[in-house]
């Protein structure tokens, strides 16, 4: 197991360097952050040159990248163009998005697995067919459409919750945005656990468990679920990173001041340090989530760690 962990962690390093380099090149090569700083006016050449020098922008791109990576290792993500350290922006934004993602993952796991198992145990019955059709419809409605619809219905028409989230972003305010963020993944989890349960329900070990006289709930909870949920756990783990990155749409609809909001502002103003910093952290989260999933997979399925 130890060797597997080390090998898997080492594999992550080149991927991390490649992904961040790609983001770095995209942001710095495609726009001119110094020109953006001056807005519509043409910058004074001497000032522009000084700012370029201060920000390492007069160096070749690969040196800028190395310098940036060196800074990150010291926990320094640079400052936004208004002088505010990027880490300060992160400290304000990441807890909010983390909370939103957490709400989404819990909803996704609880309802997705419950519906999927209920449906998988009743393969071919009306409940199963209905749920399958419903999940397809949910998957087809893009997040920004379902977000506005649910906001209109629950926030405006019914008034059950406030249509936009306050800066404090309390958990109860985040229930509806969390549901919106989770909806598509929830449908995928339902389908995945349904398929998995339906497949394993015909396995020999389940028949054995039934044959030796175990009560039904015990067969399901002890034998069937344990084996069926392995792919589901993998999916949910990998989804955490995707949800954090995709939260930008939900945050825009419900006016949540999280990572997506800061990133969007940074991109609008061509504020390169903010954009690169936030995306770099998100890439790290994404890769770490994938690493954790792989390790979890190895714990759950001995065949993988011994391969």
């Amino acid at each position: 197991m130890g060797r597997y962990v080390i090998r898997r962690a080492l594999q992550m390093v080149p991927v991390f360097l490649g992904s961040t380099l790609l983001i770095f090149v995209m942001v710095y090569a495609l726009g001119d952050p110094v020109a953006a700083l001056f807005g519509d006016k043409a910058p004074d050449p001497a000032t522009a040159a000084r700012i370029r020098h201060d920000l390492y922008l007069d160096q070749p791109l690969w040196r800028q990248y190395l310098h940036y990576m060196g800074q990150i290792l010291h926990g320094d993500f640079g400052s936004a163009f208004n002088g505010q350290p990027v880490t300060e922006l992160m400290a304000a934004a990441f807890p909010v998005t983390l909370k939103l993602t957490l709400v989404a993952v819990v909803l996704e796991a609880v309802f997705g697995i419950a519906l999927g198992v209920a449906s998988g145990l009743r393969r071919g019955r009306p409940l199963d067919t209905g749920l399958l059709a419903l999940t397809l419809i949910v998957i087809s409605v893009p997040t920004f459409v379902s977000g506005y619809l649910l906001q209109l219905v629950f926030g405006v028409k019914l008034g059950w919750t406030r249509p936009s989230v306050s800066p404090a972003a309390r958990l109860d305010e985040l229930l509806l945005p969390g549901l919106v963020l989770a909806l598509v993944s929830l449908a995928y989890v339902t389908r995945l656990s349904r398929t998995s349960v339906a497949e394993n329900a015909r396995a020999d070990y389940v028949r054995t468990a039934v044959a030796k006289g175990l009560p039904r709930h015990r067969v399901v909870s002890r034998h069937l679920l344990r084996n069926s949920l392995i792919p589901v756990v993998t999916f949910i783990g990998a989804d955490i990173g995707a949800l954090m990155g995709g939260a930008i749409v939900t945050e825009r609809i419900f006016n949540i001041h999280g990572v997506g909001y800061q990133l969007y502002q940074g991109i609008l103003r061509n504020n390169a340090p903010t954009v690169v910093g936030f995306v770099t952290v998100l890439v790290i989260v994404f890769l770490l989530a994938n690493l954790l999933v792989d390790l979890l997979y190895a714990v759950l399925d001995p065949r993988i760690r011994h391969a």
Binding site: Y148, V249, V283
Partner: protein, 329 residues
């Protein structure tokens, strides 16, 4: 479309076993199914030959109501994407501010948006951008990912290692964030930057599937046999491995088509996808969103059209997967 003949699985049968008595069952509505067998339908073969994966799939699809429904819907969408004028007589860019946010009335069943443009006309014209992006991006990812993945799986070694790591790098970038960063500097109002972006971040998914399929196929007895008979590597790959490994690629590409359309709309909604004057559902939904309390009809019609289109392609992908994956039969 790939060569649908299956010489490797059945080496002494150079011709496909299509044109059997079941031919008549295939309805005209099954556009996708006929595509799969493009160029083969006229070939005559002995009826009692065993049916290949492709003809099996074709017969299953012809009987699948979900497939027929989605194919009908997609045929309709393709039609209005090609000739939007046939359904909507107006001009999507000619608007009258005096009609701003008016509800439905004769001649304008979906009402008017904030600029006073006819929502029905814009919804009809919006199909073109979405379908173009979806189809082109799918073809691009399937070709690029399919070829790179197949080469990696077939030749292995350092080429495989390099490509797998490269795919990991692109996999590590969250899609919407990458789109915001990359597309925010684009000023073109055509669909091509969006298509290029989706292909750039979408190929690793297809490449993984293609690589896995080729790896599995390359171990098969008939491939070993072809090699033992002295077939070169190029011939083995093109004639024996590729035709049998292409099914999973088609499945993943069909399912991805719907999600690409949703992705384009999401990017357009965020302001970095398609740009006006291109008529796009994503842009219209984004413009309608602030007015959702006063005039929900401006949002609901393009949103409904978008969801229905995505649903049609996802249903198609589902049906094609059921038909092409023998394990599910």
């Amino acid at each position: 479309m790939p060569d649908t003949r299956d010489p490797a699985a059945d080496p002494d049968d150079a011709r496909s076993p299509y044109g059997n008595p079941h031919e008549a069952v295939a309805p005209t509505g099954g556009g996708g199914a006929l595509d799969l067998a493009a160029g083969e339908a006229g070939t005559l073969g002995a009826p009692e030959r065993p049916r290949s994966l492709w003809s099996d799939a074709r017969h299953q699809l012809a009987r699948d109501p979900v497939f027929l429904l989605s194919a009908l819907l997609i045929a309709f969408l393709l039609f209005i994407a090609a000739w939007p004028g046939a359904l909507a007589s107006g001009d999507p860019l000619s608007c009258d501010l005096a009609l701003s946010q008016e509800g439905s009335r004769p001649g304008a069943p979906f009402g008017y948006d904030t600029q006073g443009c006819d929502v029905f006309t814009r919804t009809v014209y919006g199909a073109r951008a979405s379908i173009t992006v979806g189809v082109c991006a799918t073809l691009g990812t399937a070709l690029l990912g399919g070829v790179l993945g197949a080469l990696a799986g077939f030749f292995g070694g350092w080429w495989d290692a390099l490509l797998s790591r490269l795919a990991d790098v692109f996999f590590g970038i969250p899609v919407i964030l990458g789109g915001l960063v990359l597309l925010s500097v684009v000023t073109s109002s055509t669909v091509w930057p969006v298509v290029g972006f989706i292909v750039l971040l979408g190929w690793p998914q297809v490449a993984r599937i293609a690589r896995g399929a080729v790896l599995a196929t390359a171990q098969a007895d008939y491939v070993q046999a072809a090699r033992a008979l002295g077939a070169g590597r190029g011939r083995t790959l093109l004639r024996h491995v590729a035709p049998n490994a292409v099914a999973p690629v088609i499945v993943v590409a069909t399912i991805a088509l719907g999600t690409y359309i949703a992705l384009e709309a999401t990017l357009s909604f965020l302001g970095v996808g398609l740009r006006p004057p291109t008529v796009s559902w994503g842009i219209d939904i984004s413009n309608a969103a602030p007015q959702i309390r006063n005039a929900p009809h401006m949002l609901l019609w393009p949103a409904g059209a978008l969801s229905l289109t995505v649903l049609a392609f996802i249903l198609l992908g589902d049906a094609v997967r059921d038909a092409l994956d023998p394990k599910l039969r």
